[in-house]
Symmetry: C2
Subunit: 306 residues, 2 copies
């Protein structure tokens, strides 16, 4: 196992005033000259290569908006997440922090990224990740929260889950895609498991460099790129439960169905249609995450060439 940073670019800033700061309590004040070269838009990647690989190539995990690679690790309830699951299946697993999040760092200069980052409230996460029933379902007191009655999300650990959320920018899509392309150029053709925000980005990447992608598993993609005409990457889109009452997901569901209808290589795994109800938007953290992983594992083995 190990880690590296990949992709990104260098920028040169000039003409900014110097200032003095004590960087560390008890330390010496330091003169800060903000002018110079910065490394930005690189991506952090941690990898785990099992002793007995399954020979299906790398499996790359690309988290959703406001999250980091931690989303695929231990679940909020302390049980093993998909990183451990897929390592056990013999995959060469690569866990990434998309550009501008987690260990990938970010560029704190309006000269480089004009708009500031956003971070979701806990209240919003509860509703938008479809744990809660309705917009005002979150209360600090867990007893007052109105979760979906059939939710598979470990409610007792919602507060633990919230601790993984990080600020994100909303105009760094191309930088994220470029860094993933740099990763695939480095490690070779791979399968990608992506979530939410990264769904449409991974589809754009698949469209741009199809030879780098063996297969794509998109967990509840937050959109379908409008400009994709030819699309040839074997793709499995996984949809959780309690979508019916959610206007935004209703609209997205229609786009996703239309996308699958246009491209034979795209399949939708609709958990509710299989009789599995109550999955949240972070279904890799739900109590049946291993069952869903097994569906994905079977699809990947069936889809990828020997």
């Amino acid at each position: 196992m190990g880690s590296f940073h990949v992709g990104g670019r260098r920028v040169l800033l000039s003409g900014k005033p110097c200032y003095s700061r004590t960087m560390s309590e008890g330390g010496e004040p330091v003169n800060i000259n903000p002018n110079g070269t910065y490394a930005i838009e690189q991506m952090y990647v941690q990898y785990f290569l099992p002793q007995h690989p399954n020979g299906k190539g790398p499996l790359v995990f690309w988290h959703g908006g406001g999250m980091t690679g931690a989303a695929w690790e231990t679940k909020p309830d302390g049980a093993d997440g998909w990183v451990n699951y897929f390592i056990r299946q013999g995959w060469d697993v690569y866990v990434c922090d998309a550009v501008e999040r987690g260990r990938s760092g970010f560029a704190p200069f309006p000269d480089i990224w004009p708009e500031g980052p956003i971070i979701q409230t806990v209240d919003d996460v509860y509703a938008r990740f479809r744990i809660g029933r309705g917009e005002h379902s979150y209360y600090p007191d867990p007893a007052l929260r109105t979760a979906h009655p059939d939710t598979r999300f470990p409610l007792a650990h919602f507060d633990d889950f919230c601790m993984q959320m990080v600020p994100r920018w909303t105009h760094t899509n191309q930088a994220m895609i470029d860094a993933f392309q740099a990763l695939l150029e480095r490690i070779g053709p791979a399968s990608i498991v992506c979530h939410s925000q990264s769904g449409p980005l991974a589809m754009q990447l698949a469209n741009a460099v199809p030879k780098h992608l063996r297969a794509l598993v998109a967990i509840e993609p937050a959109g379908i790129p409008a400009e994709i005409e030819t699309y040839a990457t074997p793709t499995l889109i996984v949809m959780g439960g309690n979508l019916a009452g959610d206007e935004r997901w209703q609209r997205l569901g229609e786009k996703i169905s239309a996308f699958a209808g246009r491209h034979e290589c795209v399949q939708v795994l609709d958990l509710e249609a299989l009789g599995i109800s109550g999955n949240s938007h972070v279904l890799m953290m739900d109590d049946n995450s291993d069952d869903i992983a097994l569906h994905i594992q079977k699809w990947l083995l069936h889809t990828l060439p020997q």
Copy 2:
């Protein structure tokens, strides 16, 4: 192996205007209400528990300023870093991203953290991490850079190293200390390996909750806390090379010597005095990092009770 977030607190923001943003290309615009509860100042921790532990308790890695837990993983030249080294020695290893960095997230609100983050230029990193000889030693063209002639840092991989640097705040010391205390309360008494900025913070923590700390290894601490009177944690301070020509490190060296002189439990491992020259400020990434790790390993085994 697994991961979790620990510590932190909840804050409630109110009275801020709502706004609309498209969170993801091809997605639906979303109404953002920034008012509500946020989880802040938590800490991300990844752990690796070997099958055959050495029985010496947890070994916790606390990175320096502008860095994340990645500092202890694979070295910029691709060789194994200290995480892998110490796992092989049978330690239960915990790698942390200090509060406000990496997968710990940060609070992008001046209401919460009034001062913005800072990030060092590549130029500054080259000089301040004592890779370069003098303040103006960095040039984009590697052939023009003036490194210390005897440096142990893998010069060909300096640009890879720079990709790990992330923005940092300079007024979150207590939040960092609190999160580490929460970690030790969770995992039990531990030894800590810390670097630079985290040196004085770890010493403050050791002073505040001595029963939680078995031993402390401080790689080139960036300061010595002024307020520490009684200090009883077995501590090894490791100092690299090329300190003589560096004014800031000269002054810090005097403080460190005085601290060791006042407290019998504090020892200084001066690599130059052992005839090992040329180590940079990130000596865990230098080409002799395994040799230095062995010194630390021996000291820990000697210091910790059976």
